[in-house]
Structure formats: structure tokens, C-alpha cells
Symmetry: C2
């Protein structure tokens, strides 16, 4: 691809992402995208065979960003407990840098119209994070700090736990006027989440600590 | 509604359900449904304002069936551990009575085209089962057989655990030629699932037992 072609592709991706978030995936047509970017139909189809393929590229782009952000932690010299905490905190930091994006994304996920894209995002996120958890779990078992069987199943469960947590938090992130009680509810759930994960992994009690109150606060609207 | 009207509504629902399962929700038009049932467009709109509303009714129908099947267990005089096992087994029996349906449903859920309906089904299933788990967890805490905090959060986690389990099992249920190793994989996951749930609830080890090998076998194709 020429430099110009790459730039055009990036422009289409950026415009489509914005339009998907604003109007929903289903309600954004290829026609509307090319009109917004100001390219010919043929140019679009030179880069993407369909809207689905464009979506797939966007999703993979998000995923690559997240993977890049946390995979460095895996290679560091740390114990498994420390590593699990570090992965969660690194993920949290990446989100804190993009509060507006996270809010928009939470609204996007809460809308059933976007379920296809949400599902792809979750599938790709699972493909990336489950092997990361599995590696850390195996390390923890070797170190004798974790006591659980079936690292692959356990990694899958840990991922699912994150989804359950999201389901509790998303309604509060997209709430127009969250109060003190909403922050308190998230903190309470987050602590319960850490304790449940320790039990599943057979990790020492209170060894997992993923976020502080100040980390959470930034995601609630003022 | 007259008896005749109720019958017509039932006919539309039954035909739509079959068509959604066979061709997917998105690919089934209202036009195709009324043609199949042989009713006028006005008759359809007399009963349903949209395809979405029809879907909603179908989903609520499934949910009511499941609720009817398991809610009786809640009122029986049993300890919390026994009750949790009974709810899982009753759910398993209901599924065993409808193996063909479960297989079709698994295929349906595996197809991203049906994500809207799948999502509604999961939401409604969550609305029904989370309060059931919560009641049993509260009972178990009172009896001193469970040791966990936040029964509402724990109930949500238990529901999510079921979803993680489904994700592992569905690909094997829809597999054309499952082998002995597939059955073994399900049994292994099921045992891990029971142990994880015991840990989350703080229940005695090996107290939970949801299914036998013979119960699982019927869902795999021959």
C-alpha cells in the first residue's frame, strides 16, 4: 500500500469509529461513511470488502492497543500475585488516559443495537486476555502462591468475572448524575471482586488490589 | 382476546420461533412470517407492533417456562446446599427433555447474526436466576453452610460463571462428530465449575454436584 493509501484507510477507519459510536453500528451505512470521508465507493471497497470487515479491523486495532499496553508486564521479573495486580493496574491506567472514550464505549455497549460489534470486541478481548491470565496462573501454581486446578478453565472464569463486574459498573459510568452512593457501590463490588478472585485462584487473602478509590472516581460524571 | 385470536397469536409465535431458529432472527422478515402462517398483515399487527415485540414475547415465554420449572424447588424444605443442587438438576432435567431444542438453541447462540435475541434471552435469564441464587445464598449464610459477603454480587458472579461454562460447552454440543475426549472435557469443566462455585460461596468442598456423566452424554451427537 502506498503512503497515501494507508492515510486514506486510516481516515475511513477513524470516521467509521466515530460514526459507529455516535449513531450505532447498524445505523451507520457504508454510504454515510464514504460521504463523510469524501472518497469514492471504489476507494472504500479497495480497502474493505464490507462494513463487517471494517468493524473487524477496528476491533483488532483496539485489541492490539490493549495487548501492547499490558503484555510488557508479562516479561517483567515479578511474582504471579504482583504480576496480576500490575496487569490490572496497567489496564486501569490505560483507561484513565481515555475517560471520554471509556464513557462513550460504555454507552455503546449498553445499546443492544450494537450487539454484533460488542460481541466481536468481547471475543477478541477474550482471545487476548485468557492466555495472559493462564500464563500468570501457571506461574503462580509453580511458585506455590496459587492453588487451583485447570489453569485454562480458571483463566476463562477469571475473564467471565471481569464481564460480570463490567455489567455492574457500566450502568453507573453512563449515569447522568452519579452520587456518593454510586462510587461506594463500585468500591464495594471491586473489593468483592478481588476477594472472589483470590478464592478462585487459591491466592492469599487480601493479596489482590486492582484499584484505589481515586482511580475509580475519574470515570463517574461530575 | 377471543379464543380464536389467542390461537392465531400462538400460531404466529410458534412459526416465528421455528423460522428464527432455522434462518436467524435478522434474516426472518415479518413478511415471511405472515406468509408462512397464512394470515393478513393487519392480523400480525393486531398482535405485535414489531418483530422486536414478537421476539420479546418469545423470550418471555422461554423464561416463564424455566421459572415455572425451577421455582417450585425454592419453596421446598431443604438446606441451601441441597436446594442449589436441586435447582441445577431440575434445570438439567428440563434440558434433557428437550435435547433437540437445546442443540438448535446452541447453534442459534453461536451465530452472531442472532446476537440481539441472544442478548435479550441472557438478560431475561439473568433477571430470573440472579434473585433465585440470592435467596439460596442468603439461606446458606443463615444456616452457616455458606461463607461469603454481598449475596447480590455473589449471585451475579454465579450467573456469570454459568455463562463462562456455556461458552465452553456450546462448541461441543454443536460439534458434528464429538468424541470421547469431548465428553471428558465437559465432565472436567463441570467438576471444576462445581469446585469454583463452592469456593465462591464458601461452601463445603465436594458439596455441590449438578450432573452425572449420563446426563451430559445425551447432549452430544451420536
Amino acid at each position: 500500500m502506498s503512503k497515501e493509501e494507508i492515510q486514506t484507510k486510516q481516515k475511513i477507519l477513524a470516521a467509521a469509529q466515530r460514526m459507529f459510536f455516535e449513531n450505532g453500528y447498524d445505523k451507520t451505512s457504508i454510504h454515510a461513511i464514504i460521504e463523510k470521508v469524501g472518497v469514492a465507493k471504489g476507494t472504500f471497497y479497495h480497502h474493505f470488502s464490507s462494513k463487517e470487515e471494517l468493524m473487524e479491523e477496528l476491533v483488532k486495532g483496539f485489541a492490539a492497543e490493549i495487548e501492547k499496553g499490558i503484555s510488557g508486564v508479562l516479561d517483567e521479573k515479578m511474582g504471579a500475585v504482583e504480576k496480576l495486580n500490575a496487569v490490572a493496574r496497567r489496564g486501569g491506567e490505560l483507561k484513565k488516559e481515555r475517560v471520554a472514550f471509556i464513557r462513550m464505549y460504555s454507552e455503546f455497549m449498553a445499546n443492544p443495537d450494537n450487539c454484533r460489534m460488542t460481541r466481536r470486541l468481547m471475543d477478541i478481548s477474550r482471545e487476548i486476555t485468557v492466555p495472559i491470565y493462564e500464563k500468570i496462573i501457571n506461574q503462580g501454581i509453580e511458585e506455590g502462591v496459587f492453588d487451583c486446578s485447570g489453569p485454562d478453565f480458571t483463566a476463562e472464569i477469571i475473564f467471565g468475572l471481569g464481564e460480570s463486574m463490567q455489567r455492574r459498573i457500566i450502568p453507573l459510568i453512563i449515569k447522568e448524575n452519579p452520587g456518593k452512593e454510586d462510587l461506594a457501590a463500585i468500591i464495594k463490588d471491586l473489593n468483592a471482586y478481588e476477594r472472589v478472585m483470590e478464592r478462585i485462584l487459591g491466592a492469599p487473602e487480601k493479596s489482590l488490589k486492582f484499584a484505589e478509590e481515586t482511580d475509580i472516581k475519574v470515570f463517574l460524571k461530575k
